[in-house]
């Protein structure tokens, strides 16, 4: 191997390692847990204050809104566990009873605090293989 190639490989390695290290350190700051309601709620204490994406379904009829404000309170459940979430701000069009949601925020003793713009309701996209589309596939005999 010529010195030229080994030099090139060495510099690529150094730059690569540096970038990789940088990537991982910044990632640690920005990363958030992605959790299901039933994974968190059995022992909520250990999750208090951690950045989290919480996945679940809005409990039917649980959405409450304080009049003259954008303050929402609703329940999210998955499996047998339910958590109360509070949020202030605009909700997406798809946010409604029974919607599948991902909430970004932190768990507090009083419930799940959703960050600003932290409500993502699953967009019923053109690719939605929901129950209907799933049944649209031929049944195997």
């Amino acid at each position: 191997m010529s010195t030229r190639t080994s030099r090139a490989i060495l510099s690529v390695l150094i730059v690569g390692t540096a970038l990789g290290a940088l990537l991982f350190t910044t990632m640690a700051e920005s990363a958030a847990y992605y959790k299901e309601v039933h994974e968190v709620m059995p022992s909520p204490e250990q999750w208090y204050g951690k950045n989290m994406n919480l996945h679940g379904f809005v409990v039917d009829g649980s959405i409450e809104k304080r009049p003259n404000s954008l303050d929402y309170r609703f329940k999210v459940k998955n499996g047998d566990h339910t958590v109360t979430a509070t949020y202030t701000g605009t909700v997406p069009d798809t946010f409604k009873d029974g919607a599948e949601v991902v909430l970004t925020g932190t768990l507090e003793p009083g419930g799940f605090q959703v960050k600003r713009n932290g409500v993502t309701a699953k967009c019923p996209s053109r690719y939605d293989p929901d129950q209907k589309a799933a049944s649209a596939r031929p049944v195997s005999y």
Binding site: S30, Y34, R126, Y127, P138
Partner: protein
């Protein structure tokens, strides 16, 4: 019809396998009849896919709700346009649409190149046929779009999701698909070159053109998606780093890298392995993007649900692709030796290399961050996610380095730049960047990221201008014409280089738009207002007048009536709204009220309302410089079209293009672009306009029957649209009615004036509707004729074994000439 469709898909799969087998065997054994047979079968697949698509379109247009797919994504009340768009509204249909596009694209590519690259063509056919087989297999086994209900009968369909009933969304997927599908062609040529060992630079020429076309469509497709997000989703932004968006961006990065590095190979014979790898990786990323978004591997708000079986099939195909491709690369390594070595880091090839690394890093980073949740779950058993801000934090410096290199590359000479040379080249751009940067500091613009971005924009712009000016003057003294002629002459002489600079200018404009994100002027506020209350946001005072509830047959509309004043002057009357489509009340759509401007957009969203108390919550966003993104993309498109124009990118333009036609074409394109801009700019919301009550029933009737032709209001009826164009049309209509003309006469007058029935809300019952119904039959018939024609030609060739040689012998010199011509034109 549905069973015919299913049968055709099966037939297409079988014939595609035949095409693969014949081409593969023919290429290996140099057996002409087999090669021609494979080619014929390949075109037959295209014909069959066209017929199958015609059947699907027919099912949508006629509303054949026995087909599950039609029932799920369409209904009888949908306008014709969205019935057609429903074809690619779901997973099964989009795969079918994908195969149709791929086979059509492949047929054209093979047909165009069949003589120039005779040795490559059978391998190209074999490669594309394998890709077709994979997707056809998916359809036949897993996602048959033609599957029908077994027992239940549905009178009507569920309709396309209201969110997708938007002009941008209807045309965005086909654009993106063409971009994705088109990347298969360069891949097929690359594999063909590897398999046949024809690794001289000639395959690159074919590949470069066929990369530029899908690259263009990918660019447009991504932009349309961003525009849709901006205008329809109502969160005030246009790019959210959603996995689906990212999937489209990944091949864009690698294709862009390839379009640059290919020049190094053409000029210096270097980077051969790198280039072929980029082509393979680009193709791989299009498949990977599809896999990522369709199989539920990555969680996304676009919600695909998990589909293990589909995921497995995709994984198998991807592993197969990678193994075969890189296996071939390793096998052909001896032929891929570099002709030259890098002479100096101060050379253009080094700049291109750096640009490639950065682009590749960008692709890698986006891929990594998108897959991070899945990766972390696999490695740590704990699902961790990263969000938009993380992407922005990383991509901002990456973008800046790219922008910086955009300004460096053109200024460096090939091989090695001398110090003196660099001084003259870099002086003006560096001065411009410093001046703008200093100005930004003086004005108090945040240095990171906007200030740096502006300085870099100045840097690149000066580079490009300097290239244009120097080039024009050199050409002026060489040819003795005036500067302007010399300037246009630059494009005839080395259109690729100068068209590339225009694309760079487009990039600069896009970055200007990005810089707006970091400016102090960007504001977003959410406020609750009662009628008569107002709020001040930035320079605007937003006064909420009233909440209106109106209805039309398709939907109920809740509209906030808002008056905006700017520094005391009346500025606009705006109507943010929410629409509730009948039958889909649970999914209201957000109708953003938008006032575009060069400096900033005012973006109003009706976030919430209470009809009882008349109270509303408005999300008010001021987005600085956004429009420069869209404007920049159109400049990029223009540049790419110029680069493609005189090349024989499409089959039929084989006649030599007289060089004088290039400026004419250029002027035409510019005129068209400007014309389009003019039309779109005509829609100005002027809600102050008083819409006079129609005097007669006929006038009222026609006001609801004619649409505003300003091009910006989404075809509102002239009785509802508030722009000046609609006012003019109403006046014209009133004149006709007063003149005592009959309804038919007036309709005819309007059609004559606007040149088509586009001016009508719905096509005339007699003529066009029948045409629309005839269209699928026509396409089907065309497909059958095509099948027949291919079959006949094919059988004739078979009958007379010597004929294939004869035309080839004639064609060879002209093909050589073409190549010579190209080589000469490339020298700049």
């Amino acid at each position: 019809m549905a069973s015919l469709g299913s049968f055709l898909l099966l037939a297409a799969f079988v014939i595609a396998s035949g095409a693969f087998a014949a081409s593969f065997a023919g290429a290996r054994r140099r057996h002409n009849a087999l090669i021609l047979g494979g080619l014929g079968l390949f075109h037959v697949v295209t014909a069959i896919m066209l017929v199958a698509s015609a059947i699907m379109v027919h099912a949508f247009v006629t509303g054949d709700f026995t087909i599950r797919y039609v029932q799920h994504y369409s209904n009888s009340a949908q306008p014709l346009f969205y019935k057609l768009a429903s074809y690619w509204g779901g997973l099964d249909g989009s795969i079918m649409f994908w195969v149709t596009l791929l086979s059509a694209f492949g047929s054209v590519a093979v047909h165009v190149n069949r003589e120039r690259y005779r040795l490559l063509v059978p391998w190209v056919v074999a490669t594309i046929a394998v890709v077709e087989m994979f997707f056809l297999f998916l359809m036949v086994i897993h996602n048959n779009p033609f599957s029908t209900f077994l027992a239940t009968i549905h009178a009507d369909g569920e309709g396309l999701n209201p969110l997708l009933q938007n002009y941008y969304m209807a045309i965005h997927p086909p654009m993106l698909y063409i971009g994705f599908v088109g990347m298969t062609i360069p891949f097929a040529f690359g594999i063909a070159a590897l398999a046949s060992g024809q690794l001289d630079d000639s395959w690159l020429r074919a590949v470069r053109r066929w990369t530029m076309v899908p690259w263009l469509f990918l660019t447009v497709g991504l932009t349309l998606g961003a525009m849709w997000a901006y205008e329809e989703l109502g969160w005030g932004g246009y790019w959210g780093w959603d996995p689906v968006e990212n999937a489209g961006l990944l091949p864009w990065f690698t294709a862009t890298a390839f379009l640059h590095s290919v020049m190094v190979q053409e000029r210096r014979g270097m980077l051969k392995v790198w280039n072929i790898s980029l082509v393979i990786v680009t193709f791989f990323l299009t498949i990977f993007g599809t896999f990522m978004t369709r199989s539920g591997v990555v969680q996304s708000v676009h919600a695909f649900g998990e589909d293990r079986e589909l995921a497995l099939m995709f994984t198998a195909f991807m592993i197969f692709t990678l193994a075969v491709s890189f296996g071939l690369v390793i096998y052909r390594m001896p032929l891929l030796r570099s002709r030259n070595e890098l002479d100096s880091w101060a050379s253009r090839e080094a700049a291109f290399l750096a640009n490639n690394w950065v682009l590749l890093f960008a692709a890698f980073f986006v891929l990594f961050a998108t897959m991070f949740p899945t990766l972390s779950e696999a490695i740590r058993g704990e699902r961790l996610t990263v969000a938009g801000p993380f992407f922005n934090k990383w991509m901002t410096p990456v973008g800046f380095v790219l922008l910086f290199l955009t300004g460096v590359g053109p200024l460096l000479a090939w091989r090695k730049s001398s110090i003196a040379n660099m001084q003259t080249q870099f002086m003006w751009p560096a001065l411009a960047a410093l001046a703008v940067g200093g100005g930004m500091v003086a004005l108090g613009v945040p240095l990171w990221a906007s200030g740096v971005c502006f300085a870099l924009c100045a840097w690149v712009t000066t580079t490009v201008l300097q290239e244009f000016i120097r080039g024009a003057f050199v050409r002026k003294s060489a040819t003795g014409t005036d500067v302007l002629t010399a300037f246009i002459g630059l494009f005839t002489r080395s259109r690729r280089r100068y068209a590339g600079y225009i694309v760079h200018l487009g990039i600069v404009l896009i970055f200007l738009g990005f810089a707006g994100e970091g400016l102090n002027g960007k504001l977003q506020e959410e406020v609750g207002l009662k009628p008569g209350q107002n709020v001040v946001v930035g320079p605007y005072q937003v006064l909420f007048n009233a909440l209106k509830v109106t209805q039309d047959p398709q939907k109920q509309m809740i509209t906030a009536d808002v008056t905006v004043t700017r520094e005391g002057q009346p500025f606009a009357r705006m109507y943010p709204a929410r629409w509730y489509f009948v039958g889909r009340e649970g999914e209201p759509t957000t109708e953003v009220a938008l006032r575009r401007g060069f400096a900033h957009d005012l973006h109003l969203v009706l976030a919430n309302f209470e009809v009882g108390s008349q109270e509303v919550h408005l999300q008010i966003t001021i987005n600085p410089l956004v429009n420069w993104v869209w404007f920049g993309v159109s400049v990029m498109v223009l540049g790419t079209i110029i680069a493609l124009l005189p090349e024989r990118a499409f089959a039929f333009a084989t006649a030599p293009v007289p060089s004088s036609s290039v400026p004419t074409a250029l002027i035409l394109v510019i005129a068209l672009a400007l014309g389009g801009a003019r039309v779109a700019a005509q829609h100005v919301d002027q809600p102050q306009t008083v819409i006079l009550v129609p005097k007669t029933q006929l006038e009222k009737d026609l006001q609801g029957h004619l649409v505003c032709m300003c091009g910006g209001c989404g075809r509102k009826k002239i009785g509802e649209c508030t722009c000046p164009m609609a006012a003019d049309m109403r006046k014209e209509l009133a004149g006709h009615v007063a003149g005592g003309r009959s309804r038919d006469e007036i309709v005819q007058l309007f059609i004559k004036k606007w040149g088509s029935q586009e001016v009508l809300t719905e096509p005339i019952d007699r003529g066009f509707n029948r045409l629309a119904w005839l269209l699928p039959y026509g396409v089907g018939l065309g497909g059958i004729v095509l099948v027949g024609g291919v079959a006949m030609r094919w059988s004739r060739r078979r009958g007379n074994g010597t004929t294939p040689e004869a035309p080839a012998a004639v064609a060879a010199p002209s093909a050589l000439q073409d190549r010579l011509d190209d080589e000469l034109r490339e020298l700049d």
